[in-house]
């Protein structure tokens, strides 16, 4: 324990360092003070909401609440709330691959979830999130697009996955990936047959089949502070103060599906390995949660 006098010296030294850094890097003084404060408390293993550095917020998932959608899920990661609704429609398969269907994700960050978003067409963050989900679907092969084809070259399913963020408190990518997985597990597609005489599709709404989910990708996001400290599941406040973010997507066989690191401060290989290890444990937690919820629905 430091004496009062020594503490005061340390504080004034920190203040001088911050002033020096702000003059050199030309960052706003206030944001540097906040970062400095955050770094200090993180070194003591302390986060503003009292979590450990490697601890996730309470995760809850609610499947199948929207009956107008073919599959739906509501995921809450602490305060961050994302709802995913999937609607299945018919379309012609794309010209370049006539035996595939489509999966079209669309992430919407409306002004209601946070004051940082303006109404209107999707902004940068929403576009980046949509593209991230599209990449996760592609890389993890959660669903093979060939499974969505009904008649080669003529008819295929399109799954429109719409994500709406209801409450933005950081870590949007983890919540969206989890909501995608839960909603896809909930989707029931009606049976379709092609009438040979008329060539039209005939849909039997009474008979439905679930989708064939091959892999279960789970995303884990980290915020990086000054190349040294990594915290898992950042809140909006922590994301703003962080110098970089990393998102790791793993599937159940311990295979890495994607690493998303949009710029930000560098990360050593050892730190990246730590992230991957934490992502593997997180995958087990999430898988257990989803299996529990799906089982509870089946029992009903």
């Amino acid at each position: 324990m430091l004496l009062w006098f020594e503490r005061k010296c340390l504080a004034s030294l920190q203040l001088l360092t911050i002033l020096y850094c702000s003059l050199r890097r030309k960052k706003s003084l206030w944001s540097l003070i906040l970062v400095g404060f955050a770094l200090e408390s993180l070194k003591e293993n302390c986060r503003p909401d009292g979590r450990e550095l490697g601890e996730f917020r309470t995760t809850t998932v609610n499947i199948g609440s929207i009956t107008t959608a073919d599959g739906s899920a509501l995921v809450k990661l602490g305060n961050t709330t994302v709802i995913c609704g999937i609607k299945a429609e018919f379309a012609q398969p794309p010209a370049e691959s006539t035996n595939k269907g489509y999966i079209v994700p669309n992430v919407d960050l409306p002004p209601l979830c946070s004051s940082r978003f303006r109404p209107g067409p999707p902004g940068e963050e929403a576009q980046a999130a949509s593209q991230f989900i599209a990449d996760v679907i592609e890389n993890s092969e959660i669903i093979m697009k060939e499974d969505l084809c009904i008649a080669h070259g003529k008819l295929a399913w399109v799954l429109y996955c719409d994500f709406i963020c209801l409450d933005y408190d950081g870590n949007i990518l983890d919540a969206c990936t989890f909501a995608l997985l839960a909603a896809l597990k909930n989707v029931q597609l009606p049976k379709v047959t092609i009438n040979e005489e008329t060539g039209l599709a005939e849909v039997d709404l009474k008979q439905t089949n679930p989708l064939n989910i091959r892999k279960h990708p789970v995303a884990t996001s980290f915020a990086v502070f000054d190349d040294t400290i990594l915290i898992v599941d950042p809140t909006a406040e922590e994301e703003d103060l962080a110098t970089g973010t990393v998102t790791i997507v793993m599937d159940e066989e311990g295979r890495l599906c994607s690493v998303h690191k949009p710029g930000g401060s560098g990360l050593t290989a050892a730190k990246l390995q730590d992230c991957i290890t934490r992502a593997i444990t997180r995958h087990k937690e999430v898988k257990k949660l989803i299996d529990k919820v799906i089982k509870s629905i089946k029992i009903k």
Partner: protein, 264 residues
């Protein structure tokens, strides 16, 4: 169709499977209902952490609406303004998914304006000069009477945000069954609304007994029929009022309990 560069590209055209449903699969006719029967209502205020005020309203039979209020924020010179936005989630409708884009926005703008006109008499805007209040109503699932549910949820959200109001606004939807002599039904379900000959939404401030808004269209019959429908709607609003007040009280108690945990 113009290519939307901001969204992940999908097929140019797609059709809903419902169009190709084998005939004879229509849902069985719902048993006849009493015209003035109200659907069970679940209202909660204060759910979102990032908005100043929020409320969610669910009507039995599948209408779910979420409303959030942000503000008062600083605005240009002038009196206080209330800006309302009405949005439907792409998965909220029973039929085809409406493509997000400018076309869908036009109908929603009309409803947003209707929301604003109905809520403006209830809010004491004179107490917020040079400020603006932004309200967003999001329909997560449309099972009928979505605009009426959005009105009630919006009033709850404004009250939850601590905005000064004269009274809560309660909304009630009605529709008239097709055919001559069709009766007016209170809080129609989605199937009833689709088959209706005329639709009406009334907004009432029950404490002051003043009508805040009225929006109706269709072949309603003679004026007496419309007058009867309005009276039915206003009665419905009066009956919903205690439920909404109780949900506000509950959320205030919950907030007080969180701020000051009770001494055991």
């Amino acid at each position: 169709m113009a290519l939307d560069h901001r969204r992940v590209p999908g097929p140019e055209e797609s059709q809903a499977p419902l169009l190709y449903a084998v005939p004879g699969q229509a849902a069985p006719e719902a048993p006849g209902r009493e015209a003035a029967a109200l659907r069970p209502l679940l209202a909660r205020a204060g759910l979102l952490s990032q908005a100043e005020g929020s409320a969610s309203l669910e009507l039995g039979g599948g209408t779910k609406v979420l409303c959030a209020v942000r503000g008062p924020r600083e605005a240009a010179e002038g009196r206080g303004r209330l800006l309302c936005e009405f949005r439907r989630a792409p998965f909220s409708g029973r039929g085809a998914r409406p493509r997000p884009g400018p076309a869908a926005a036009a109908r929603e703008r009309e409803l947003g304006l209707a929301l604003q006109e109905a809520l403006a008499p209830a809010v004491r805007l004179a107490r917020y000069p040079r400020a603006r209040l932004e309200l967003t109503a999001l329909v997560l699932q449309d099972g009928g009477s979505a605009l009426a549910a959005a009105l009630s949820a919006a009033a709850l959200a404004l009250a939850d945000a601590g905005v000064e109001m004269f009274d809560l606004v309660v909304g009630c939807g009605l529709c008239r069954a097709p055919g001559p002599g069709g009766a007016w039904l209170l809080q129609p379900s989605e199937a009833e609304e689709r088959a209706a000959a005329a639709r009406l939404t009334v907004a009432l401030m029950p404490g002051l007994n003043q009508v805040a808004g009225l929006l109706g269209s269709g072949q309603g019959g003679p004026p007496e029929s419309w007058a009867q429908a309005v009276r039915l709607g206003l009665e419905g609003c009066q009956r919903l009022y205690p439920l909404l007040r109780r949900s506000l009280l509950r959320s205030a108690e919950r907030r007080a309990a969180e701020a000051d945990p009770p001494q055991s």
